[in-house]
């Protein structure tokens, strides 16, 4: 059978995601790379107790306002799952600005949501360790800070390091520019961001892309995420958000 990873609807693409799943979602800076329609499908489905592994613990409404997008209040990113109370744990690089009316802060302080606030480098290196099959890595960031808590510290060659454990997930939802039907992905500009690392770190990766091409439609050297890391591809309708 010719392999074809293209799925015809967003609801079908996320059909296997159930209550209690762990999910990495790309997106943080700018409108590119956010798998908006997959997130909307997940909100429609209403699954609960999700573990959300994302850059931030909030919806980037202020960024959307900055861009001057009409309807910035309706900005869609991973934050909609927190806002909709579908998340029971957040693992992120940036949690929230205390006191700035954060929905996550309220849920966290009410005991509704568990929070792991990692900082950016540790967030990324843990996903990388998960993607690359490592048992753990010693990294130098966070010495003398709150990140030391509960972590093994070790001096190697005269420098201090913290042991970080691998982070994987049941699913990754990533936004990309183009896919072929084998799941090979290319990204546009800084829309690349977390796509490559999350696609590698999750067991099942679902990509929302602007364009689907036949195998051969992407030059072999230009492929950023090889199809081995991608299980499903779904095409976004043109220009939902602008």
């Amino acid at each position: 059978m010719p392999v074809n990873k293209v799925v015809q609807s967003f609801d079908k693409a996320i059909a296997d995601i159930g209550d209690g799943a762990s999910i990495m979602v790309s997106g943080a800076q700018g409108p590119l790379g956010v798998p908006r329609n997959l997130l909307l499908a997940l909100r429609r489905k209403g699954v609960h107790n999700l573990t959300l592994i994302t850059a931030t613990g909030y919806r980037s409404v202020s960024a959307a306002r900055f861009y001057g997008f009409p309807h910035a209040e309706d900005w869609i990113d991973h934050g909609i799952l927190i806002d909709n109370h579908q998340v029971s744990k957040v693992i992120c690089a940036m949690a929230y600005v205390p006191g700035r009316d954060s929905i996550l802060q309220k849920q966290y302080e009410a005991g509704e949501v568990e929070l792991e606030h990692l900082g950016h480098g540790p967030f990324i290196i843990r996903m990388w360790a998960g993607a690359a099959g490592l048992g753990g890595v010693y990294q130098p960031v966070g010495i003398g800070t709150i990140l030391e808590q509960d972590k093994e510290k070790r001096v190697i060659d005269g420098r201090e390091y913290l042991l970080e454990m691998p982070l994987t997930a049941d699913f990754a939802l990533v936004g990309a520019d183009k896919a072929d039907s084998y799941g090979n992905l290319v990204y546009k500009g800084t829309g690349r961001q977390y796509g490559p690392i999350m696609a590698k770190a999750a067991r099942v990766t679902i990509a929302e892309v602007d364009e689907v091409v036949e195998p051969g439609g992407l030059a072999p050297e230009s492929i950023v995420t090889p199809g081995i890391y991608v299980q499903k591809v779904v095409r976004a309708p043109p220009e939902v958000c602008k």
């Binding site: 690359a132 099959g133 084998y182 090979n184 090889p226 199809g227 081995i228």
Partner: protein
């Protein structure tokens, strides 16, 4: 002497285990011959640890020259690109292996133990630090499935399927399936199960040439070739 399967036929048999859509690594030697036996209705993405996924058949000298030697496999053989192929670097390739993303590796073997230990990277006669480990240990330790294809015995007649490997180990407990020139043997938690014999061979004759003990499958059958 009874007739044994030739290398092409062993490759044919193990190739039949490869499932549609799998990402598969083929080792040097007999494993590499599997490419000749993938039916048209199956898509297998071949992986080379030097940074290729989904490549085509070997290129001859003229074809390679026309391509400027642009794509070679891990054995340094030039290959043809096919639509949907991806190129990357060694770091990405070994993330794929170590991260458990490769569905299957087909490797040659010097010895396989009753527990599925594999020895395939160096003969034990040499005692120094040398040899060529290469990617063998990574592939054997980390791919989702490890299939070994090899002659059932050494040229001297010495069994290669043994109680304990005496040759330098490649990886412990990694082998899932052994295809030889006289049998197909599956490795399970309970040990080795003889599932198929080559035409003309019976279970007792296979056991005779095997140091480790074989459990005979209730569904033992003759290989279809």
């Amino acid at each position: 002497m009874k007739e044994r399967l030739d290398e092409q036929t062993m490759a044919l048999r193990v190739a039949r285990e490869l499932q549609d859509g799998w990402y598969v690594n083929l080792g040097f030697g007999i494993p590499a011959l599997c490419t000749n036996f993938i039916p048209e209705n199956k898509t297998i993405f071949f992986f080379a640890e030097n940074g290729l996924l989904g490549f085509g058949r070997n290129a001859d000298y003229d074809e390679a020259g026309r391509l400027g030697w642009r794509y070679v496999d891990a054995a340094a053989h030039p290959v043809l690109p096919v639509p949907g192929m991806a190129v990357f670097d060694y770091a990405e390739a070994f993330d794929m292996i170590r991260g458990g993303h490769i569905d299957c590796t087909v490797l040659g073997g010097l010895q396989v133990s009753g527990k599925g230990d594999l020895a395939n990277w160096r003969l034990p006669i040499y005692k120094g630090k040398g040899g060529t480990i290469g990617g063998a240990m990574d592939l054997a330790a980390c791919c989702k499935r490890v299939f070994v294809v090899m002659t059932h015995t050494e040229k001297s007649g010495k069994p290669k399927i043994v109680r304990e490997c005496t040759y330098p180990l490649t990886a412990k407990g990694c082998v899932d399936l052994i295809v030889t020139d006289i049998a197909v043997i599956r490795v399970t938690e309970r040990g080795l199960t003889l599932e198929e014999t080559a035409p003309g061979w019976i279970a007792a004759e296979v056991q005779e040439l095997t140091e480790a003990s074989l459990e005979v499958s209730p569904n033992l059958r003759v290989m279809e070739l």
